[in-house]
Amino acid sequence: MNIALIKTPAEEAFGISLPHRRMEEWRWTDLRARIDRPYPAHQNTVVAKIDVDRLIASSPFAKIKTHRIVFVNGSWDQAHSNFTGLTFEMGVPTSSAIDDPLIHLNGAIEPAGLTLRFESNMDVLVEIMHITTKGAARSMALRNCIEVADGASATIIETYLGEGDYVLSSVMEFEIGLGARLDRVKVEHESASATHLSHVVTSLAKDAKLNEFTLTSGGALNRQNGTYTFVGENADAKIAGAYLLNNKQHADTRLVVDHAVPHCTSRETFKCVMDDHARGIFQGKVIVRKHAQKTDGKQSSHALLLSEFAEFDAKPELEIYADDVVCGHGATAGDINLDHLFYLRSRGIPEAEAKSLLIAAFVGEAFDNVVHDGLRDALVNYAANWLQVRKNV
């Protein structure tokens, strides 16, 4: 099916075509239709330091000591960044040539970025932050590459914060070396009218370990793609995520876990909370190549729908070519369990508080993937605030 579509104003401005609902992976997120006006790149926005400081302070991790690498409106902000002891190279990394619409879009916007290399165990939290300040509707892009050398370990935090109407495209590449370990925590807390598009490419060498958690809570429109490729045996990837969505927020995650070699383990755990008219989508594909025997790959996505108008779609896909594997997936969507609710209320807990407790418990299971106590506590707090605001509505 090759239909030549008339270019939309946004496509004219970007100079590329955008994915649309007739493409299977984009059936729930018609980016072409949803980006309904041009978002020109490289707009000169006047930046007041006070705005940047305020946005940084609004990060859920504001109180945690991290090495911050701050980008403001698509450009590196040296003054707010701290590279002490880090090995890095400013400039956009040359990406592995992946044919993906989000990577093309990222290239079209001309990203800023860097390569960070962890040579050994670094006992610091490195936080890559993107801040968008109020200004004309525009697009911005980031492209970063994180290399965790053989035997090294790293914790990378990504925080996305902003104000106003914009498109933010982020491409991240993670290379986890032999026996290396990466803890990745991402918080997407873009402005309420923003579009957040992210593509993550991760490769795991022999004996590598990945612990990943992404929280999707801001933005009007979110799409995150992730590909995880096992290139060496005995590697382990734990990929968890949570959605806390309300109003008309839309979040679509599509992950591809590629078991290209034997003896690797993958776990995908997504806990999605949708209130009001929010819509969540989880598409998870697990590929087990012919020689990837003893693969252990499990995927689960669970949705809690807090309003009759909220919606969740899950599309698990297993593509298994090896015969000696343990793979499985499970997806559920439901509202708050009334037996649980009654039990709590019968002990004196008022309805709203009981619901909050149950919602927090529901997403909390995904937070458990966050290894660092301080970060996990900050996320629990974030969820508590989200619930508090919800209760006050």
Binding site: Y343, L344, R345, S346, G348, E353, A361, E365
Partner: protein, 251 residues
């Protein structure tokens, strides 16, 4: 304390009536045992008293400490002193038992206009009571009832009761699934709560529990009605003769 008059209850989405004119008066300090065949409506009564949804009261009234109980939210009833130890305690994944107890106790105190307990005071308060019921610290860290054995769940219910200190304790088959030692532990826990201003409704199938928790009254609930009431010796009669007499009467 509790005055149930001519209570008629049906399921919300079925015409079937489950309680058919039940009356019961419970005064402070009293322990009432309710026995009766399976399906006679014992748990339904306990749910209706604690405010579970899904039931419709078609006639009769329930007053608790002079107020219309049936008009109150379940959490309000709890704050006023009603506590149900569930026949089948619910597992709540992701909510630690200790946190649950704290939120529940503070919510009740708040509803009664009392001050919240400080965290150290609260911890001491719970640990003391947990120890008496052979409940380990480790169990308190686990999510509410998740992975607890049948007997552990029943002990956890009694712990909640001991922490929340209700004025009306309804125990729905708290003895079922308990081994003999656990039965004694639970009975001791319940007896420790007996006081002149606290009443209990103990639902059970077995007279043995009533050897430990000695009731002032025993009632037979059959087909939605109390068909016979007596003293503690009635439990022995039932143990010997079964319910045949009452079941026939209704049929």
């Amino acid at each position: 304390m509790l005055e149930i008059q001519n209570l008629h209850v049906k399921l919300e989405d079925e015409p079937r009536e489950i309680l058919k004119g039940l009356s019961l008066t419970v005064k402070p300090g009293e322990v009432h045992a309710i026995m009766g065949p399976n399906g006679s409506g014992k748990s339904t009564l306990s749910y209706v008293l604690s405010g579970r949804a899904g039931y419709e009261v078609t006639d009769g009234s329930v007053s608790f400490k002079g107020e219309n109980l049936l008009e109150m939210d379940p959490n309000m009833r709890a704050a006023k002193g009603v506590f149900l130890a569930f026949q089948y305690p619910i597992e709540i994944p992701g909510v630690a038992t200790m946190q649950f107890l704290k939120v529940a106790l503070n919510a009740q105190r708040k509803a009664r206009g009392e001050k919240e307990l400080s965290i150290p005071d609260f911890m001491r308060f719970v640990k003391e009571r947990a120890a008496k019921l052979n409940i380990s610290q480790e169990m308190l860290k686990r999510p509410v009832n998740v992975g607890f054995s049948g007997g552990e769940k029943k002990r956890a219910e009694i712990l909640q009761m001991a922490v929340l200190e209700p004025s009306l304790c309804i125990l729905d088959e708290t003895d079922s699934g308990l081994d003999i030692d656990a039965l004694k532990v639970v009975a001791d826990g319940v007896n420790a709560l007996r006081s002149p201003d606290r009443a209990m409704i103990v639902i059970t199938h077995y007279q043995r529990l009533l050897d430990y928790i000695v009731p002032d009254f025993v009632h037979v609930l059959s087909a939605g009605k109390i068909v016979k009431s007596g003293g503690k010796e009635l439990a022995h009669e039932l143990e010997a003769n079964g319910y045949a007499e009452f079941v026939e009467k209704v049929a």
